[in-house]
């Protein structure tokens, strides 16, 4: 009896035991199960590629040469595995904080159009400050160093950092407020609006002069092409932009016409310079002791810090200062929870080591100044990526279908204590890129205004599409379509600390991604 047949027999015999393994459920429990979604979590989990080999192939470069990726090592283990060396067991979710897969509508997916239901995959979600990815990610950015490592035992370091940032913003605000205190911000704005009329007028003049210069340059090019190699027997063709020596009295009409176009071009350049100077002067118009340029810069900065002023002595209840104050509250809460001995649910260690094999062509000089292609060889590049303390708590994916195809929206809430990227097989982290306190808050698609559409075209090509903002929906679009943020507490490349990095407020206005079968 083959192994397969034995397995099948085993399944046949064992399945009646499925019912036998069930424990008693009462009516209430059975009633609760009906119609609900599915929750799941994993414990005592690890995956290690072990002795297996794995390869991805079929990817081609633009010349149609094959690229292969050999995975030498891959693992998913519990936090503390020392980059996969130890078989530490991972816990993904708990009974009360499971992954869930269910059909949602209404409050569970508030962005969905009315009457639409979506299939939702939600990762384990916590609301406490240490396990809510957004709150902990925010704190970790300001903290900079990896909490628990040598020299990083004080969680209030983040508070000091955000206090310093907030102090800088408030100093800027106070300086602007003091500058225009006697003027008033509504008067300031009205003065800017009046002076900007002159700027607008002179910008239009610059635009006209720029267009004239381009026209004159075009004429000069055309006439240069038609001009003779030698004019009037003695005058060789000059460099482009220079004139024939016979000037305005050339007998050859083409040479004369070209010379005249050089003069016309110079005249237009002078006019453009004059218009630009006039525009600069319009920006330097003074009112209340400050130039228009300074006033506009100050007004825009104040608006960014405190929101659009609505009174001569404006308040500061929205804008970056208020946002930073809100963030400060979160940072203090996380720091206090850590100080009182709070701990996070442990994350995952994930790693991949791979070799990229791709064709490489050596180019060389043939001795006559020509660069020629030599033999094609295969080069191998090692690449490794390790994530330590990786969590994906509070992320979700909503999927639904309508007449446009399969649609979705996703929010990825990824946090990792450490991301290590290396291109050397036998080296230390001093030769790698190490990012600590990494937080990815990536939001793709919004069900009502910008659904992510996945479809397969009639020729079999895959398409991923995010519709663009329109004039009709632009206000709602910029208010409601969620932005994406990426922050890194500290980035170190090759042993050099580059400090904290942050990208805030990214939003995709339009995306059309599709595969193409090469060569076309």
């Amino acid at each position: 009896m083959s192994l397969g047949a034995r397995s099948a027999a085993l399944i046949l015999l064992a399945l009646p035991g499925l019912a036998a393994a069930m424990e008693a459920l009462d009516d209430r429990e059975l009633g609760e199960i009906s119609g609900a979604g599915v929750g799941f979590f994993l414990d005592h989990f690890y995956y290690d590629q072990g002795s297996a080999s794995a390869q991805v192939s079929g990817i081609k470069d633009s010349q149609g040469n094959g690229l292969t990726i050999d995975f030498e090592r891959a693992y998913i283990k519990g936090e503390g595995s020392q980059r996969g060396a130890l078989d530490s067991e991972a816990q993904l979710g708990t009974p009360l904080h499971p992954f869930t897969l269910k059909v949602v509508s209404g409050a569970a997916a508030p962005t969905l159009p009315s009457g639409t239901q979506a299939l939702q995959l939600h990762t384990p979600t916590w609301s406490d400050p240490l396990n809510d990815t957004h709150q902990y990610g925010l704190w970790s950015y300001y903290q900079g160093c990896l909490y628990g490592e040598a020299g990083c035992s004080d969680p209030s370091q983040a508070q000091t950092a955000i206090d310093s940032e907030l102090g800088g913003l408030e100093t800027s605000r106070d300086a602007i407020l003091a500058r225009y205190q006697s003027v008033g911000f509504l008067t300031l704005k009205s003065g800017i609006d009046q002076d900007m009329q002159l700027v607008a007028q002179r910008r239009a003049e610059v635009a006209v002069e720029t267009s004239d210069v381009q026209g004159a340059y075009g004429t000069m090019e055309t006439r240069y092409a038609a001009a003779p190699a030698t004019a009037d027997l003695f005058y060789p063709k000059p460099d482009f932009g220079e004139k024939y020596g016979c000037g305005d009295i050339c007998i050859n009409s083409a040479a004369r016409a070209y010379n005249s176009s050089v003069d016309a071009y110079q005249t237009q350049l002078d006019e453009l310079a004059a218009a630009q100077k006039a525009l600069a002067e319009a920006w330097n118009v003074e009112r209340d002791g400050y130039t228009l340029n300074q006033r506009v810069t100050d007004y825009d900065e104040f608006t960014s810090l405190c929101g659009t002023p609505t009174a001569e002595s404006p308040t500061c209840v929205v804008g970056r200062i208020q946002k930073t104050k809100d963030n400060r509250t979160t940072v203090i809460l996380v720091a206090a929870t850590l100080q009182s001995g709070g701990t996070r649910v442990k994350g995952l260690d994930v790693g991949v080591e791979a070799t990229f094999n791709l064709p490489s062509v050596a180019y060389s000089d043939d001795g006559n100044g020509n660069i020629v292609a030599g033999a094609t060889t295969t080069r191998s590049d090692f690449f490794s990526i390790n994530l330590e303390g990786f969590t994906l708590n509070g992320a979700y994916l909503n999927l639904w279908g309508d007449s446009s195809g399969l649609q979705g929206e996703a929010s990825l809430q990824m946090y990792a204590d450490k991301l290590v990227i290396g291109a050397c097989r036998n080296c230390t982290d001093a030769n790698r890129a190490v990012a600590k306190n990494l937080y990815f808050d990536i939001n793709l698609g919004q069900a009502s205004l910008q659904p992510l559409t996945l479809s397969v075209l009639a020729d079999g090509e895959l398409s991923l599409f995010l519709p663009s903002v329109t004039w009709a929906n632009h206000q709602a679009f910029y208010q409601q379509v969620p932005k994406s943020n990426v922050s890194i507490g500290n980035l170190n490349i090759g042993g050099v600390d580059l400090g904290s990095q942050v990208v805030r407020g990214m939003r995709v206005d339009y995306l059309n991604l599709r595969t193409v079968n090469l060569p076309r």
Partner: protein, 166 residues
């Protein structure tokens, strides 16, 4: 042939399993509580069909998925090789302790799937986009994105608990 036998066995065995998914009376439920679960070992072989000359050596299994209202299909193509595992377990358990107090608060039954080491023998598949569910016929078009292949034993352990979510 082996795969067909196994498939038939799974089909037949699924019938009594489905028949069990009905409300059980209290006394029936009491009678089955606490007994052993199920252990599964299997060796699944997906062989290439040499008659299909589109793939070198013949094509393996093909799974085509058509996203809503799309003209074409996302395809897992040329699936072939052997996948085997020993001792995958299946059980129903009550979670009423552990997990930092979450277990006691949960206090409900869950289906437990115990993962086990697995091994692959030249297992492969190709991810592609295609204009047709089947690979025969005129006008067939397909863009292969990538091919994944693996060989050898991987180490895998853990329990997946599945239950009804509120």
């Amino acid at each position: 042939m082996l795969a067909k036998v196994l498939g038939l066995a799974l089909l037949l065995s699924a019938l009594p399993a489905a028949a069990e998914l009905r409300p059980l009376a209290e006394e029936e439920l009491q009678g089955v509580s606490g007994q052993a679960g199920l252990s599964i070992s299997a060796n699944l072989n997906f062989a290439a069909n040499p008659a299909q000359t589109r793939c070198p050596g013949g094509c393996g299994m093909r799974v085509a998925i058509k996203p809503a209202n799309s003209a074409g299909f996302i395809v897992l193509d040329n699936i072939q090789g052997t996948f085997s595992f020993q001792g995958l377990s299946f059980d129903i358990v009550t979670i009423d302790s552990g997990y930092d107090g979450d277990g006691a608060a949960f206090n409900a039954p869950a289906m437990r799937l115990g993962l086990a080491d697995a091994s692959f023998n030249n297992a492969r598949f190709t991810l592609a986009g295609s204009n047709s569910a089947t690979s025969s016929g005129a006008g067939f078009q397909q863009t292969d994105l990538l091919t994944y292949q693996t060989n050898g034993a991987v180490r895998l352990q853990g329990n997946i608990y599945i239950f009804a979510a509120p």
